[in-house]
Amino acid sequence: MVSIIQSPLVQHDAKQVLLPSPFHPRIEQHCLVKNWMSWNGYQTARVYDTLASEYFAIRSSCSVMDLTPMEKYRISGPDALSFLNRLVVRDVSALKPNRVTYVVWCNDEGKVLDDGTIFHLHQGEYRLCSQHHQLDWLLISSLGMDVSIVEETHEVAALAVQGPTAYSVLSAAGFDGLDQLKPFGILHTQLDGFEVMVSRTGYTGDLGYELWTNPSNALALWDALFGVKQRGLYDLRCIGLDALEMVRIEAGFIMPGDDFNTAETTVRAGHDRSPFEIGLGWVVNFDKPHFTGKQALLREKDRPIERRLVKLAVEGNKPPVDSFLYDGKKGRRIGTIKTQIWSPILKANLAMADVEYRNGKLPVQIWAEIYYQKELEWQVTWAQCRISDVPFWTHPRRSATPPQNC
C-alpha cells in the first residue's frame, strides 16, 4: 500500500475540525474569551481578551499575532523568476534577495485571484504568501516550466510583531541587527541557537516585523518574546483577527474575499474585479514580459472599468454596516460598503466601498444610508462620505531606518 498521506494531520476524521497551529499551546493560554474561528482551516482567535486592548496594543505598544495559517509556497528552480513574473501583474524581476514585495495576480480575464507577498529568500529561491489557497493555480501556471512549487504553510511557523515598540521588544528578546533592516527587507538571524527569518513587513501601517521559523522552534520563539514582558521591560499582547481588521482598514490594505470577490470563487459574470477596479492599477506593469491577464487588462483601456473599490471616510459615528451608497442624499444608488470599522485613533468611521466609476471619474457626492439600533429599535440616518486617496492612517515610524522614537 502506497502511503499518500501528505497532510500534516495523520488523524483525518472530522472530530478535530480546526487545526492547531504550532503556537497553539500558548495561544490557548492567552485566549481568555475562547472566541475561535477558522482561518484557512486553523483554529484562530478572533479576540483574545477585549478588542480595545488589542487594538491599542498595535497602535501604542506591541502586538503579537500568529501568522502561521497564511498560505505559504516555496518556489524555486531555474524558472522560478520567470514563473513568478508571468504569474503576477507587477514586475518582480528586480526583486533582490532578502527583499519582499506586494503582488496581486489575475486569471486570464484579468480578474484578481488573490493578493500576497513575494519573499526573495535566497538567490533564486522565493516564498509566496497568499490570503487564499492557490496551489492549483500555481501549478496550472507552472505548465512547461522548470520550477518547484511546494506548499509549506504548516512547515513554517510565523508571528507578526507589530506596533511602536516592536523593535525594542525584539531587541530585548535577543534579536540583533534589526536596526539596519529596512521596510520590506529580510534578515536571516539566530535566536538562542535556532534560525529565525525576520522581515520588516506587516499589515498595520506602523512599525512591524514578521518572524518565520521552523515549527519545532515555535514555542521557544514565543517564550523569548513574552519573556520580555515577564521581565517587565515592555508590554506585549496577543491580538486576534478582529483587531487586525481595524488596523488594516486604517492603513488602507484591502482584503480579497471581503472587499471584493476573488475570481476563482465568482459564480456570476461581472462579480469579479480587475486590479484597476480595486484601486491596484499602480501594481500593474504592462512593460514587463507577458503575464496572465495582460491582454484582458489592456482591453480595459477600450472598455473602461465601471466600478472602483475606494477608501471611504463616513462622517458621524453611526456604523455604515452593509450600507448602500447614493449619489447625493437619497439620490441614485451608486455602490455599497464592503467592510467598515470605527477607528479609535482617528475617531472616524472608515470603510472600503465599491462605487460607480464613470468615464474615469469617481462620484463627487456620496451619501451612505445607515441602519443602526438604539436598544433594539432600528433607526435610519444619512451620512456624507469622503473618498480618501491615501491610507487613512500611517506613521513615519513605519519606514524610518533605524527605527526612531521607540
Partner: protein, 537 residues
C-alpha cells in the same frame, strides 16, 4: 355519472404533485393508482417485518423547495433530514471522505492530493455556475424551436437572455460542460484517482452511459443541483422513508379536496372526436373527465393506455424509439446491527452518508462495458446509505436498514432473467460491500433484490428506467419526451403528460408535475396555483 375536472393516471410523486396543484386551483380531481398504495417509485414498504424499505428512490434533494412550500408539505408531515457527506472506499484499504465541514473536507481531499484540495474550489464554483443556469429552467415549460408563436419566441428570448448572463468564455465552458463526459470533465480539475471516481459516480446513476461517454457531465447536475436549505448538492432522507414524501403530497392533495383511488388500474384513455374524455379502468369502469393526465412514462402512455388509432403515426414511431433502457438495480437489506467499516476511523461520521466502493474511473467505465453487453456489472458502482442511523422509524431499535443502489444492471440479460440470476446479481453486490465490511454478511436478515425487471413490474417504470427516459441530448428540454411534444400536451386535445418523461426529467423533483399543472390550468383558463421559481440566490 360524475364527471371530474381532471383525472390523473398514476399516483407517483409527479402525478400527485400535478393533481395537488390542480386541486389547489379548485378543480375536482381524481388520481388513479394501480397498486394498493400510492407513491409510484417514491414509496416506503414494509417488505420485511419491522423494516420500512424505500425500495425505489431512496434519497431526495432535487425536490424543488418552491413546490415543498406551495404544497405546504412540512405541515403535511414531511421531514427531510440532510445526509452527512459521503465516502469512497479504496481497494488498498484506505478511503476518501467527502465531509460537509469545509475545513475537514478540504483537509481530507488534501490527504489524497494537495492540488486537488485547491482545485475543488474551482470545481465547486464552476459547477455552481452551471447549476445556477440550469436551475432556472426547471420550473419552466421548454419552448418549441419550430414554433413562431409569440409565447415560444418570448420564452426562447428569455432563455437566451439568461444564457447571456454568462461571460463569453463561460458560454463556451458551459457548452463544453453540457457535451463532455464526466470523466474528462473532472480530469480537468483533479488528479487523484479516488477523487476522480468519487466525483464522477453521480453522473452515471440511472444512466445507460459510462463515465467516459460525452454528455454525462451534465447528468451530474441532476444529482448536484438539488439543495437542502441552501446546501447545494447535499442529499436528504425523508423520515419514514421516501414514501413520506408522496404521503405528504397525497395529504396536501386531499386537503384541497382531491380524491385518491388505489387498486384502479387504467386500461385505456378514452378518445372521442380527437378529444380525451376520460379513462376506462381494468375493471371496466369508465371515469369521465374534462382533462386526462398521464403520469406514466411516455412509452406506457402511448403504447400502453392509448389506442394507436387515436395517435399520429410519427408519434407512435417516436414512442417506440423512446430511449428508456433500464440500467440500475437496487438491494434493500435488513441488518441485525450496524456493519463495521474498518477503513474508517473509529466513530466516523461517514457511515451516515453515501458509501461507494469504486475507486477509479477505469473500474466505473468497465462496469458500463458489462451493461453494454447485456450483463450486470461484475464490479458494479453502488451507492449505499443506511438511513436507520438517524431515522428510528425505518428499522427496529438496534437494527439497521441499508439501501443499495446498483449501477449497472440491464433490463435484459442474455438468456433472460431467472431467480438464480437475480440472486447471483445480488450476491455480486453483497460481495463487493463485504470486501470492505467483514461482518456485513453475518448481519443480513433479509435482502430484497430488484433488477430493472422487478422495478418495471411493480412500479410500472418501463424497463425499470429510474428517470422514465434517458437523460441524453435527444431527450432533454424541447426534445423531452419527443420533439414537438415537450409542452406537456398530448397528441389529442385535453390529454396531458406530467411524468418524469417530460421536462426536466427524472430525479424526485416534482417539476414535471408542476409544469404540467401550469399548462393545464392555462388551457382551462383557471388561476395558476403553481409556484414561481425562487430565483437566483
Amino acid at each position: 355519472m360524475k364527471k371530474y375536472d381532471a383525472v390523473v393516471i398514476g399516483a407517483g410523486h409527479n402525478g400527485l404533485t400535478n393533481a395537488a396543484f390542480l386541486a389547489k386551483a379548485g378543480l375536482d380531481v381524481v388520481v388513479l393508482e394501480k397498486n394498493d398504495y400510492v407513491g409510484g417509485a417514491t414509496v416506503s414498504r414494509e417488505l420485511h417485518q419491522g423494516w420500512q424499505y424505500s425500495n425505489c428512490s431512496y434519497v431526495c434533494s432535487l425536490f424543488r423547495p418552491e413546490i415543498y412550500q406551495a404544497l405546504d408539505l412540512g405541515r403535511h408531515g414531511l421531514e427531510v433530514v440532510p445526509l452527512q457527506g459521503s465516502a469512497t472506499f479504496k481497494q488498498d484499504g484506505d478511503y476518501f471522505g467527502s465531509y460537509h465541514q469545509p475545513a475537514v473536507r478540504r483537509r481530507e481531499i488534501a490527504r489524497h492530493s494537495k492540488r486537488d484540495a485547491d482545485a475543488s474550489i474551482r470545481f465547486d464554483a464552476d459547477l455552481m455556475k452551471w447549476c445556477r443556469l440550469i436551475r432556472g429552467f426547471l420550473l419552466r415549460t421548454p419552448p418549441d424551436p419550430a414554433s413562431f408563436k409569440p409565447r415560444d419566441v418570448m420564452e426562447f428570448a428569455y432563455l437566451l437572455k439568461r444564457f447571456y448572463t454568462l461571460s463569453e468564455s463561460q458560454i463556451y465552458e458551459f457548452i463544453r460542460f453540457f457535451t463532455m463526459s464526466i470523466a474528462e470533465y473532472v480530469e480537468e480539475y483533479f488528479e487523484s484517482d479516488v477523487i476522480l471516481a468519487h466525483f464522477s459516480g453521480g453522473s452515471i446513476i440511472g444512466t445507460g452511459l459510462g463515465v467516459y461517454s460525452p454528455g454525462t457531465a451534465y447528468v451530474l447536475l441532476h444529482h448536484a443541483m438539488g439543495d437542502i436549505d441552501g446546501n447545494v448538492g447535499s442529499w436528504g432522507f425523508a423520515r419514514g422513508g421516501m414514501g413520506s414524501l408522496t404521503k405528504a403530497i397525497a395529504s396536501s392533495f386531499q386537503s384541497h379536496g382531491g380524491e385518491l383511488r388505489t387498486n384502479s388500474e387504467v386500461e385505456q384513455i378514452i378518445v372521442k372526436g380527437r378529444k380525451a374524455t376520460g379513462v376506462v379502468l381494468a375493471s371496466g369502469e369508465e371515469i369521465d373527465a374534462q382533462v386526462v393526465i398521464s403520469n406514466l412514462d411516455a412509452k406506457r402512455t402511448f403504447l400502453g393506455v392509448m389506442d394507436p388509432n387515436d395517435l399520429p403515426a410519427d408519434l407512435l414511431h417516436r414512442a417506440e424509439n423512446f430511449k428508456i433502457r433500464g440500467s440500475s438495480g437496487k438491494l434493500n437489506i435488513a441488518l441485525d446491527g450496524m456493519p463495521e467499516f474498518p477503513a474508517l476511523p473509529e466513530g466516523s461520521s461517514l457511515t451516515l452518508g453515501h458509501m461507494h466502493f469504486t475507486d477509479t474511473l477505469e473500474r466505473l467505465e468497465r462496469a458500463y462495458d458489462d451493461w453494454k453487453d447485456d450483463r450486470w456489472s461484475a464490479d458494479p458502482y453502488v451507492d449505499t446509505v443506511i438511513p436507520s442511523q438517524y431515522d428510528p422509524t425505518v428499522a427496529p431499535a438496534g437494527k439497521h436498514m441499508m439501501s443499495v443502489f446498483v449501477q449497472y444492471c440491464p433490463f435484459e440479460v442474455e438468456g433472460g432473467w431467472t431467480d438464480a440470476k437475480r440472486d447471483a446479481f445480488g450476491a455480486t453486490v453483497i460481495d463487493q460491500i463485504a470486501e470492505h465490511s467483514p461482518n456485513f454478511k453475518q448481519l443480513i436478515l433479509h435482502v430484497e433484490v430488484r433488477t430493472p425487471l422487478e422495478i418495471e413490474a411493480e412500479v410500472g417504470l418501463t424497463e425499470g428506467n429510474i428517470f422514465q427516459g434517458e437523460l441524453t441530448l435527444d431527450q432533454l428540454m424541447f426534445n423531452r419526451p419527443f420533439p414537438g411534444y415537450a409542452q406537456y400536451r398530448g397528441p389529442v386535445k385535453n390529454m396531458y403528460m406530467c411524468s418524469s418523461s417530460t421536462h426536466p426529467g427524472g430525479g424526485v423533483m416534482g417539476a414535471p408535475g408542476t409544469n404540467a399543472a401550469r399548462e393545464i390550468l392555462r388551457d382551462l383558463g383557471r388561476r395558476d396555483s403553481t409556484p414561481r421559481d425562487f430565483g437566483d440566490d
